[in-house]
């Protein structure tokens, strides 16, 4: 039934769906996994590096992590060629904002711009949508560190932690259980009852720091990739933090640094197993 309505991007199906957009989202589920985690002092993004052939020349630059401006970066899951177009758009937008206002662009505005650009391909022109999902990481003075996810439909949302690409459901369920820690009940007692209990079911979540977030990211990738095959060459760890001057620092961990994080995760899991 859907066959008749799924070839054109700009046509709704009788059930009110845009099949081409949905197929584009499906395409990303075959791509290398990317996980993004918001920490209290920065953001971590980790991705699976897929090497399709041993004959491929070693990459000079990352094919997963891209710097968009001094204070923002993104991770890509999906068609790299499509992603390049959108990354250019994002960089242009960030640059033009700074040209106009002499200030860095607030992150949500940057994300919204890229997403509006993507949305146009679901409504006009008869061109196919972009087969890319992004994790945007950035810092601005309005809301601090922020993590956003966007997909081919042009939808975006802010996250504390999320996964895109292959096996993202497995990754997300791990994050749900292990991300952050709850405020202890005893602390409220120590307050002497100064703070009114709001009666809210959600206790305040304590964000991990960047080091914890890196370990959690590795754990997620261990789960989504073949656990036996993980090695520092197959993972790319990226972190964004503030330096002492308040400027953003983008760091892609070296092979040795990555191995350190992976080893500490292995040690943690082994110790947990002993208990």
């Amino acid at each position: 039934m859907a066959r008749r309505y799924d070839s054109s991007t700009t046509t709704f199906s009788p059930e009110g769906r845009l099949h081409q957009v949905e197929y584009a989202i499906e395409a990303i589920n075959n791509a290398g996994t990317c996980v993004g985690i918001l920490a209290k002092d920065g953001i971590v993004m980790a991705s699976e590096k897929r090497v399709t052939s041993g004959l491929l020349a070693p990459a000079k630059t990352s094919e997963k992590t891209y710097k968009l401006s001094q204070h923002s970066a993104c991770n890509v899951a999906g068609l790299t060629a499509d992603a390049n177009i959108l990354i250019d758009q994002a960089r242009l937008r960030a640059g033009r904002y700074e040209y106009q206002y002499c200030e860095p662009i607030p992150i949500e505005q940057l994300v919204e711009h890229v997403c509006n650009y993507k949305q146009a391909y679901t409504q006009y022109g008869g061109l196919r949508p972009f087969g890319v999902a992004f994790l945007f990481a950035g810092y601005d003075e309005h809301y601090g560190f922020q993590l956003y996810q966007s997909d081919p439909s042009g939808n975006y949302s802010g996250w504390k932690a999320t996964v895109i690409g292959a096996n993202n459901q497995a990754g997300k369920s791990l994050l749900k259980n292990e991300y952050g820690s709850q405020e202890e009940d005893t602390e409220e007692g120590k307050d002497g009852g100064e703070e009114m209990k709001t009666g809210d079911a959600d206790k305040k979540l304590i964000l991990p720091d960047v080091q914890e977030a890196l370990r959690l990211a590795v754990k997620v990738l261990n789960k989504t990739m073949d656990a036996t095959a993980t090695s520092p060459d197959k993972m790319e760890l990226f972190s964004m933090t503030l330096d002492t001057n308040g400027n953003c620092k983008h760091t892609i961990l070296s092979s040795d640094e990555t191995k350190e994080v992976m080893d500490s995760v292995d040690a943690e899991t082994a110790a947990a197993g002993d208990m």
């Binding site: 040209y99 106009q100 206002y101 002499c102 200030e103 607030p106 949500e108 505005q109 003075e141 309005h142």
Partner: protein, 202 residues
């Protein structure tokens, strides 16, 4: 050149003052014009130049800022960002159809709890100042402000300096500008401290 616009920064805000004359050639159209146009909740700019460009440019800028806030969930542009935006617009129009406006833009930023003052001319030059003046008024006012300005002025002290400048213009400036309007921008927003003639009068 004939419009007198000047301003001064104090501890916790900025003052912008301007004359209220609207004239061309030998005719005075109006003597209660408000040349200090509000841009956002905590910023305003004093504009010197032909009334057409004053209105056109200031409305264009203030509506752009309103749109920015609506589009971006209530985020406000900092005073520096506002000033740079204005300058960019002046620069873009310069080689097409220039706005013949000379501006003093003042604003208060919650983040720094302080005011800032920006001087901009019709050629799209921009500089941040502690105090400044546009037009012929600068010949008279800058000397006074050079002498009397100090860091950490209170609002009253700053208003006094502005009053001195106004008095100097009334005595020494050839053109008779009988009415001046003084506005203060601080944590409570933009408000009129004094006017020679009520802009609201018809």
């Amino acid at each position: 050149m004939a419009d007198s616009v000047f301003g001064i920064e104090f501890d916790g805000g900025v003052i912008i003052a301007a004359d209220q004359t609207n004239a061309r050639s030998i005719l005075t159209y109006q003597s209660n014009l408000d040349k200090v146009v509000q841009l956002s909740s905590h910023s305003a700019m004093g504009v010197a130049g032909p009334n057409s460009d004053l209105v056109n440019f200031s409305e264009y800028i203030s509506k752009n800022f309103a749109l920015y806030q609506l589009s971006n969930d209530g985020i406000q542009l900092s005073t520096a960002a506002q000033a740079n935006f204005c300058r960019n617009e002046l620069a873009a129009a310069l080689r097409k159809g220039p706005y013949q406006v000379n501006i003093l833009l003042g604003g208060y930023d919650k983040k720094t709890s302080s005011g800032s003052l920006y001087w901009m001319d019709y050629l799209a030059a921009l500089t941040k100042l502690k105090y400044g003046a546009q037009g012929y008024a600068s010949n008279f006012c800058l000397s006074i402000m050079d002498r009397d300005y100090k860091e950490g002025l209170t609002q009253d002290e700053a208003v006094q300096i502005v009053e001195k400048c106004i008095q100097e213009l009334k005595v020494r400036f050839l053109l008779n500008q009988s009415n001046f309007l003084i506005k203060v921008i601080d944590k409570d927003g933009v408000r009129v401290v004094k006017f020679g003639a009520d802009p609201a009068d018809n």
